[in-house]
Symmetry: C2
Subunit: 235 residues, 2 copies
Amino acid sequence: MKPAPKELRRVSVFQEASDEDLTLLVEKGILRSIEEGEFFFFQGDPAVYFYIMVSGKAKLLQSNPAGQQVNLRTINEWELFGALGISKPNANYPATAQALESSTVLAIESKFMQTLLETRPQMAFGLMNLMTSYIQEMQARYRELATERVEQRVANALIRLAGQSGTKSSKEAGIELFFSRQDVAEMTGSTLYTISRLLSEWERQGIIEAGRERIKILKPHDLVKIAGGVGKQAL
Amino acid sequence: MKPAPKELRRVSVFQEASDEDLTLLVEKGILRSIEEGEFFFFQGDPAVYFYIMVSGKAKLLQSNPAGQQVNLRTINEWELFGALGISKPNANYPATAQALESSTVLAIESKFMQTLLETRPQMAFGLMNLMTSYIQEMQARYRELATERVEQRVANALIRLAGQSGTKSSKEAGIELFFSRQDVAEMTGSTLYTISRLLSEWERQGIIEAGRERIKILKPHDLVKIAGGVGKQAL
DNA sequence: CGAACAATTGATCCTCATCAAACCTTGTGG
DNA sequence: CCACAAGGTTTGATGAGGATCAATTGTTCG
């Protein structure tokens, strides 16, 4: 079922769009449903469409020739992805998008969006804002990877995830994340073994509660301290 | 001396701008000259201006609380930098910009650029293109850092630099780069010691010629092979 | 010529990746 | 409803890739 046009306002880029534009976008869009584990597009495919996540979750990943992959970003509901083709007519997706759970997306032709943008500066600014924040996040993660230890990077990743997609179990303070050790490893440039050891240690310290494909943050503040470099030294 | 308006066409974003717009930009812009080693702006400063490099070179870097820094990007002549504030009114620079040699820039208020962009979709697309390519480069470097060995990352960095700022000594094939071991270390997330050892080894193999703050690539093809992972294994 | 700074090189150590094997958890089919 | 299969997780042992430290040697420039 296609989303109601007004629903698109939940997408940051379309926050201030007119009702007519939103209707146009929904009409032009194609609804696609994808099962868990399936792919929206692969790295290198021509970027004909961009996507709006209507329901579900996905991850953007990039792999090197040897097949090792890194997780660039998680896409939550009402987030936009695959949008790099909007400004460049014949671009290719620089990453692969895979569904983390069964998902529904609205696929819209990049070309169509481009014509819209020509007369909607507000939307263009929204898109630039999105790109800007993405650049900033990538820069920060790049620096982390270059200068910080695994411990700190994982702490940072969890904090970031908690902010983006965390489900607050309102009762007992504690933010629950649904990722496997392997997922976290791909997000932090590490291995599932190291992540496993680290999470076990943190569980022993009562900072988190770990389960199968599940991490519950009990003491966010302690994570912040670890992220800041208060690891081994301060003990 | 302010550049002639038409000169600005050398900046990718302004390639297709009208003469009037270029004149306006130059008039609005402030010329700033900065000595080698000095700073254009620091990470965290309010992003009031964006800059066009008129002559000289600079680097964008980010440092962590401990003071370790990573090199995000080198800015060559007629490149634009500090532009993240254009779409967001009250943004702060996410990185520090330092002159690599005595440089002259044209500083233009982000706010002014924003009003211009509202009625210049072509310019907006140009800016998005720039952001897009930057995102792609950061993603690629991030993956490299996460999955590749120092050897491969350094090879990649040199290839990239050769493409961006290489001076071809037309006579004898050989692309000359002017960076210290420390610079390369900051670009690849390594240390000057490791880079020194690596470059010495490559010089022994005749792939490069190394000097003080100078690297001359003699056999680019061999670098490409190393970048592709043909290092220890294939010998 | 000497000071300042870049580069080299050796020795050492530490963080993590890797490999192997066992252990849980979850879902499925008999 | 139990048993088994599949996939996630844990844990130990080992080793490699680089970081770090220290001392020396080049190089450049005032």
